[in-house]
Symmetry: C2
Subunit: 360 residues, 2 copies
């Protein structure tokens, strides 16, 4: 096996090689402390600096105003599925959810387990979640409107966000955060498990607008309140320090690459290349509706399942990993997160051409 493969995993997924090297370089002695970053105190000035940089970089990269708090939590996006309704839906209120697949469905289920009032304002379940709805049946004054901005499993993505008429959007952006520029103003809550565009698994980036952070009821356990993370700057207890350290290096890497706009340009080109290869062939077939296609997770099928299995096997032999589609969809999926370079996509497209010539 090669020293490094092209990694198309859906998450945990490819990380920037430069960042991996930087972390390796200083793993035994962080900035002349004589300790590993894995061993320093979360109350040390070194870690204070890491945290301050990480927060400042997220704010600057995403263009967040001072209305927004940036905190680092644990438990993944799956835990946000209950944090959001627990903290943000007050007595007598309803929250609207748009159902675009597996993750939205789970988010709705967790809100309902809590006994909260949930209105499914739109769903694409009627066509197996292959598209992003464009018409919504919002409730009069929802606590928030929850969306999944990119759907890793079904390979769909919002290309514009719904007009919620002033209701704050709560968005699971686990799989496309920091991949494209957008206006954060309509958002009250943005959360993302780190293991796609941010860093290693084990930390969740949460961005919450001040008015929503104030909703946390004091009847919740301390660590189940957003307000605790805001008040304590994510340091009520020991945070997942290494994951935050690594995320900060990734944020720096995005900065060096020219910021989110520059990264988006590359992402657009990567997706264009791959979808073009699919569309120009009669052999490969995209599974998501064209107007809803994800630039992060490109899902496609081959004529038969046997060919799909062969494709995955042969691709692995050529040093391309993580291409198997989610078991609920089948087929192939190439995840093109920020750290997947255009070289990886070119290699894949070239392999697809060859594979089609051999088996088409």
């Amino acid at each position: 096996m090669k020293e490094r493969v092209f990694n198309f995993n859906p998450g945990p997924s490819a990380l920037p090689l430069e960042v991996l090297k930087e972390a390796r370089e200083e793993l035994l002695n962080y900035r002349s402390t004589g300790m590993s970053v894995l061993e320093i105190s979360h109350r040390s000035k070194e870690f204070d600096e890491i945290m301050a940089q990480a927060v400042a970089r997220v704010k600057s990269l995403m263009g967040l105003t001072d209305d927004y708090h940036v905190v680092f939590m644990t438990g993944g996006a799956s835990s946000q599925f209950f944090y959001a309704p627990m903290n943000l839906i007050r007595e007598g209120e309803t929250a609207d959810y748009i159902n675009t697949g597996t993750w939205s469905t789970k988010a709705i289920a967790e809100a309902r387990i809590l006994g909260k009032s949930v209105n499914v304002a739109a769903s694409s379940e009627d066509e197996n979640f292959t598209y992003i709805p464009k018409e919504f049946n919002f409730s009069p004054n929802p606590a928030y409107v929850h969306i999944t901005s990119n759907n890793t499993i079904k390979g769909t993505q919002y290309h514009s966000f719904p007009d919620t008429r002033g209701a704050p959007i709560a968005a699971d952006m686990s799989s496309d955060i920091l991949s494209r520029v957008f206006d954060p103003a309509p958002f009250g809550l943005i959360y993302a498990g780190a293991q796609k565009n941010i860093g290693p698994a084990g930390v969740t980036l949460v961005i919450i607008r001040d008015d929503l952070a104030k909703r946390s009821p004091e009847t919740l356990p301390t660590m189940l309140r957003y307000s605790t993370y805001v008040a304590k700057n994510s340091l009520f207890n020991t945070p997942p320090a290494f994951a935050i350290y690594f995320a900060n290096l990734v944020f720096k890497w995005i900065e060096s690459a020219g910021g989110v706009a520059a990264v988006e340009k590359v992402n657009n080109e990567k997706a264009r290349l791959l979808y073009q290869a699919i569309d120009q062939s009669g052999f490969y077939r995209g599974t998501a509706r064209e107007d809803s296609r994800s630039k992060m997770n490109v899902t496609f099928r081959l004529p038969t399942e046997e060919l799909e299995a062969k494709f995955i096997e042969d691709a692995a032999g050529e040093g391309m990993g993580g291409l198997k589609g989610h078991r609920s969809v089948g087929g192939l999926r190439a995840s093109l997160y920020n750290a997947v370079g255009p070289d990886a996509v070119r290699a894949l497209v070239s392999f697809m051409g060859e594979f089609e010539r051999r088996h088409g």
Copy 2:
């Protein structure tokens, strides 16, 4: 500054140098996958193997029968403060808590926030938590009896566990897990934040007896139920994969050192050396009652706060870090977790002698 200092931090704290080197060695290419361990899927056969090894090693190191489940969670011990009462105290039941300091006090507070019935069966608050109580006022049939086996801040530790007459003990063992041999049979729940004796911050080791794991109510959000972690082998969602990977290497390191009994022997000798240096001097003064002294966190004072500040500064100059006591206690604290070698303790004792000669 030296390449590596002697690290007496209370947590995050020293990690075995061999393990850090092993992690560094394979950081860019995990076992010929061509991916970093930070980039592999949590559903890959490589990660399956890491998880299976980590679980098997904890069972074997701690002598756990098949009655016990070993799972990896997030949110630190601070989250277990609400997980335990939320999952384990059923309608009409009371849980007993023994209050031995800051962490026990927090655990009690979280159970009360949930509106649970809590009986404080004993407390050493009357003497500023400088000792471990030996008499308990247990309720008739408690859901569990909660203890903090080692008190990082106050420097105390249980040397034998209370006889709870059949009620399961629920123990926060964050700061002394895997440091000594004990019989797990009376325990229904054992939890430990990793960042002392297990690995980097970001994962919580939870050991739960099967009958207690069955108590989780289905009215809780999925990820707030112990039963979910048990049923899904800690893989309901993406786990903190790197922290688990690193913990598994630390478990292997303990095995290679001869297991917990061998590690305990070294820990006993380290603590003996340091307490002897304190007791033989009229200059240093231990803060915990002798029969309750912790072998993990040795807390002591100097004649004046000025001398304490000078001690910390001079020790840092000699390559010894993390010696400052917790702000609520003051003074000095040397944390002697498994990865702190006898050489570190000898260096500290020798420095203490010199410092006393200069300033005593």
